[in-house]
Symmetry: C2
Subunit: 441 residues, 2 copies
Amino acid sequence: MKPVCPEGFPEKPGSLLIEGALTGEGVIDICVSKEGFIVAAGPGAGRKFRGEAEYLVDGTRSIALPGLVNTHTHAAMTLLRGFADDMPLQQWLSEKIWPLEAHLTGNDVYWGTRLACLEMIRTGTTSFHDMYFFMEDAARAVEDAGVRAVLTYGFIDLGNDEKREHEIRATERFVRHVKSLNNPRIKAGAGPHAIYTVSEEGLKWLAGYSEDEGIGIHIHLSETEQEVADSVKVWGVRPPQLLDRCGILTPRTVAAHCCWLDRDECALLGKRGVSVAYNPASNMKLAVNRAMPYHWLREAGVNVSLGTDGCSSNNNLDLFEEMKIGALLQKFFWNSPTLLPAFEMLSAATMGGARALGLGSGILAPGKPADIILLDRNAVCNTPLHSISSNAVYSCTGSAVTTVICQGSVLMLDRYIPGEDEVLCEASAVAADLVKRTGTA
Amino acid sequence: MKPVCPEGFPEKPGSLLIEGALTGEGVIDICVSKEGFIVAAGPGAGRKFRGEAEYLVDGTRSIALPGLVNTHTHAAMTLLRGFADDMPLQQWLSEKIWPLEAHLTGNDVYWGTRLACLEMIRTGTTSFHDMYFFMEDAARAVEDAGVRAVLTYGFIDLGNDEKREHEIRATERFVRHVKSLNNPRIKAGAGPHAIYTVSEEGLKWLAGYSEDEGIGIHIHLSETEQEVADSVKVWGVRPPQLLDRCGILTPRTVAAHCCWLDRDECALLGKRGVSVAYNPASNMKLAVNRAMPYHWLREAGVNVSLGTDGCSSNNNLDLFEEMKIGALLQKFFWNSPTLLPAFEMLSAATMGGARALGLGSGILAPGKPADIILLDRNAVCNTPLHSISSNAVYSCTGSAVTTVICQGSVLMLDRYIPGEDEVLCEASAVAADLVKRTGTA
């Protein structure tokens, strides 16, 4: 008798068949090889595969979507969730966030990243793009959690030569480390933090290094008006022009925020093939005073994806909630009820993210990595079901997700995640201890 | 042996004791009389009560909050969830919403309101303020669902004398009907739709009638710039002045939206004791181009509450999500990261709402109606738990709610709601049939 998943969690990887899930193209079966790739997807596609699949997942009460992709976060900051809010930016950073971060250990980052992975799995995100410290510990957390990630060490030299040498060595060491893991789900990238924290020399080195290594670039860009004004004052040009002169704008680059881009800068990003990570909740919470110009980016053919930013400026990693906030913010700020409709928002959070990170996923089609999520078709948020994409974007939160599959491995089944209690317990403990030893409670 | 609730759903009302729940004032017990009132709340308060309570609810893995209060919705519009989005306002109304509403029956409104009540229970809302049609059917749905509501028939006369007579009779009939129900959880109010749909005569009649009956008033106010401009053109005054001259601005009045109030108008509302219902998701989705001026309302001492608006402009009734969007929108639009902090937002959604509707609930204190919700303290969104109010507002969605009690009756226990499947099934069926017979699919 073939093990049907709801009767037991498929701990070992194996080929699997999702039967009868609803999608935008009707009710389909999805066949997944034991290597974790979709081999067939369509109405009745499972008939032949049923005999050879090691596991069956009943999809008849579900809607199937590609796993969501979070293209900008600082995962371990889950430990700071709710620690400090509603403060002026500089006071918040200098009195609360930085003192805590100065006391972070690798063990903290491991458990903070495990907590982030747990939250992402629970809310339907199968891949994320991270920038933080102690990234080898973050990589270990990603390995243990089973999700997919592109991890970047946050490079900050503050114009200091000695610090730059240190950051260069740290970047090289981390990229080598990730390559040595030889895990198809984990890639390293280069992580220049931003133009106001990295020197021109640092940016140029990272541009060259990332090209040599064939890895991505993850950077904050034009998040605040201050950043743009300072750039003009210090460098004589606006942030995108500075990055372009340093070679940072490439098809392997993901630029986060981009709230203060003008129309020409959107065109430049389009010309260079840069992807943008839209972070609406963070932008609203930190009062950046402008929304990413989605209409200009779309006009310029820029690939737009979606990110949550870190948990201290959001304060969760639920991309379903982020899709709603993102679609609403465009309409509100740019004063157009038709801007960024549900279907485009869902595309940005799936295909857009997969393209930004070069994952090959983001679509349920043969040959693609099997990063698949199932939503409860009978949840209140899916009742009635006039439109899958509208309900996914405007009505549901991540709590509608019941089952999550990454590279063919089942990470959550009918809302059960093996080992969840340990992660919650350890993350709570390290967060409490971090506050205690920092003395900032 | 006393029945402990997790082992069986307490179908019949009875006195109950919630033991060991975490609140902002530490771990407390909450003792509830069989009439549905809190008789004691505090650390160790349950020791004496334990012997006489008919039911015990284990609160040791929970955070207790007052039930949330949704002060502006059109509940039965759940049937239109996801039916039409991302359209220009006039086209959306004339091509999609109005044709469907023209085919609504009392049976549709019953099941649409049952679906709304189910969604509100699941996401921690125990009371709501409604305005729609077929309100006797809505009242029946509220009775059957067990929640608390103030229901108003949406009065629209379009300046037509005959229509006004009809609306007056409909309002009187509905208010009499609700009084005859003699249900302490259900109250009727007067529901002048807005200044652009109700004549001055209609507004004046409603003001007098509501005073005579001692009932509330529920109205849309200054939602769009167009409404303000048209008011000045047609009446020579801005909307609040018109309402004031008709006697509509009273301490029993809840004015929804209020996006386009100026500072003097906020002061006027404060002087008249009017409560405001803030509807951030709807305001963003419909691109009204201005956020409710919370800072001026607070300065004027106005009671601010929170609403979701109807499901076709939101598209859910989750007040936890609404709290987040509401707190973020104030910061973003008014360019201040300290505006509407988490604690004030949570107060607006509990105490503010209870005060707006004159419910007496909204706080966990002796003598108050036992409208209580429990949140999962071990949910990811509550991990770590640096701040209850920050996690409730910024991190959690309604999916963190496990148990809901209204007037002492348990409506959801450990996420189980009796009869949920029937509501989902019937609401889906009537929604599909509504679209089919309207021919607007």
